[in-house]
Symmetry: C2
Subunit: 414 residues, 2 copies
């Protein structure tokens, strides 16, 4: 297999100021080509630390993909460090200089001496044109290894990966006749990890060299099958064999394949049946609508919704009766019921979901502790409500509540 | 300084199936105590790879914090691996067994043989009670180093960190009289990185041993000052000295300190002035409301909003005139204007923000390419609109649009 390491350079990752979404994205792309991502490392902006790490990763990997430290300011040290590692010097690269100048001209911004420095590149690297920014990617070949350095800005990194790097990796796998790994994820819902494991039994009895992983997530446990093979075709066949066995043991808990959000499964079902959806959101404050519309093409089934954060807006926008709010409170089956029913009527949709709860940190009572959430689901004939208690923090609560509501709808449509 | 490494075990991180949010959270907590996080590593579920990595990290770190691989299924191999590394054996731990049994009883779930295995722990470890799950944390002391193993489920990891680990780190820093590092972030908006760097000039002239980093983000460039010192008090003084110099050079672009979202700065201003806000969202579909309400206490200034995803709902819910939609389209200054103005009137708030744009991937035209977004901002006397073109993908567009709208409001209130 083609072994790939991902190195992220930058104090901001090391100290936890930002989450390393780049590494996950890069890893997922490389994995989909059949390459094996063996390691992610994040280190700070220190010359010797970076050089040691590059050394270690070059030893164990065929490709080392580096992001970060290529900006125009003094704390961006990746270029001089790569010069030292590859025993190289910086020279002005004509094509890159033209590109950077053009980049500023087209944006009607002044081209400064600092920007000109972006065109200084190690002489031994092959520059990879970056249409989304001023710092090009840099490819170094070293014995039979490849190191590619990219900017840390996600849009720029993604452009370079999509335009240059993924093709290089694909070709290398073919050229060197490497075996590949293929994965398949089956998403389950409404069953705890240990019960699912008991249902499936000892995986060694049917895996035959493949792998099976259990991944708890906000929407349920994911089962990931992995198979190594000479070709995608034979891997696919082996995955299907294992998949059939798992379906025969736990099929009724599997609602979707592949790493797609619950909103995608819901969207596909609504689209295929020509049904429409609206929402009424209190504590989730728009997160449910936003999650539904994270799926491209959602405008064909999602018509809109009401964010009724205040009690006043629950009454005015969705006709929740003052008596309901007074007798049962905003976080109650009765309020969730009226919210869903009235949103559905208002938007004239086939379904409406409502969420009303206590996200925290304040507002909890003995009776309704922080994390108590009521859900409503209306269709053209009835409205049902459910309660769930989420123990975690404010923003985790909101995210899990959104997943709960989507799972409720999924069950209903199915 | 106390050096900390973070090791994440699990194929799901390595192959990019999930983003490593744990490492960032752990790093941020440790950094806030003054410790130095020197490295994050993520590796797969392979025994020898894990043992080698633990070996490397123990060599360079005072604390190694490990997450993952402690679940109840066959692919969770951290416990046997730790046994091998520390030359230890698994024994049943009475306190842990009681805790696991109690955990299942209180949730009215059957206690199975598989769950009982969670109480098997390496004999040399000190168990750290986990109130949020069944796998306890495990603390190993080895020469003058400490390794702590925690589950990968974020709520369980956070419970263990908050209840046990952070205090241990704090005490170790005091006991061993380590120096500490303190950071301060200044958030700028509306100025590109290279121009900000030119304004600030050569940081070496005023840093005096401290550090200054430039971090581009969706809401603008962040400036991070770092200072190493014997005490938090002297570090604070030194940070204030550097901060004053930066304010004197670029103060007018700084809208907020510390790593808080734009929604927090907006919320604080609204709260302090007793002002209220509502929203009208088309392409962002609730993300703006959701972002505003990610801040605890937002119910005192955010009253609600309309998700008007369909043209029909723009007309019905917010009285956008059919003539406007027909002549100018849903993505236009005129529609953004009516959405903001009418939402403000409807919710009777001091401000209303509207967002209407083409998130993509479809729906773009030559005239209005994907990424075109119109914003409206209404107060009690006027309504203004602005257009921005975001080049990136669907979900990046929506996130950046939300930040743009919040920055627009921030400028207005100030």
């Amino acid at each position: 297999m083609l072994n790939i390491s991902i190195l992220t350079i930058g104090d901001e990752i090391c100290i936890g100021q930002i989450v390393n979404t780049n590494a996950a994205w890069i890893a997922a792309q490389c994995t989909s080509l059949g390459a094996k991502v063996i390691k992610h490392t994040s280190i700070g902006d220190e010359k010797n630390v970076i050089i040691n790490e590059i050394n270690d990763l070059m030893r164990i990997s065929d490709f080392v993909l580096v992001t970060g430290g290529l900006g125009p300011t003094h704390d961006d040290i990746t270029k001089p460090v790569l010069c030292e590692f590859f025993d190289d010097v910086l020279v002005e690269n004509k094509d890159t200089l033209d590109h950077v100048e053009q980049f500023f001209v087209s944006r009607k911004r002044a081209f400064t001496e600092r920007n000109r420095m972006q065109a200084l590149l190690p002489s031994k690297c092959k520059p990879l044109r970056n249409d989304c920014g001023t710092a090009p990617g840099m490819l170094f070949e070293y014995e039979d290894k490849v190191l590619i350095s990219m900017p840390g800005v996600p849009t720029e990194m993604k452009f370079l990966m999509n335009t240059w790097v993924l093709d290089l990796i694909k070709n290398e796998i073919i050229k060197r006749k490497f075996s590949i790994t293929k994965f398949k994820t089956l998403n389950t819902t409404s069953i705890p990890e240990s019960f699912l494991a008991d249902l499936i039994g000892n995986p060694e009895e049917f895996l035959d060299g493949g792998s099976l992983a259990f991944l708890p997530s906000a929407s349920g446990v994911k089962l990931r099958i992995g198979v190594e093979s000479d070709s995608f075709e034979s891997a696919e066949m082996e995955i299907n064999r294992i998949k059939d066995i798992i379906y025969s043991k736990a099929g009724k808990y599997i609602y979707q394949e592949d790493d797609l959000p619950l909103a995608y499964a819901v969207g596909e079902l609504l689209k295929s049946k020509g049904l429409t959806l609206s929402v009424a959101e209190s504590c989730s404050a728009g997160l449910l609508g936003s999650e539904i519309c994270s799926v491209a093409g959602s405008s064909s089934y999602f018509l809109g919704g009401i964010i009724c954060y205040s009690n006043e807006s629950k009454k005015r926008e969705l006709n929740v009766s003052p008596a309901t709010l007074e007798s049962y409170g905003a976080v109650s089956s009765e309020t969730a019921f009226e919210l869903a029913k009235n949103a559905r009527e208002r938007f004239d949709t086939d379904f409406a979901l409502s969420i009303t709860g206590i996200a925290g940190p304040d507002g909890g009572t003995d009776d309704k502790p922080v994390g108590t959430v009521w859900f409503g689901l209306a269709d053209r004939t009835e409205t049902i409500t459910e309660k769930y208690w989420f123990a975690a923090d404010r923003n985790a609560n909101r995210e899990r509540a959104v997943n709960y509501a989507l799972a409720m709808l999924l069950k209903k449509i199915k």
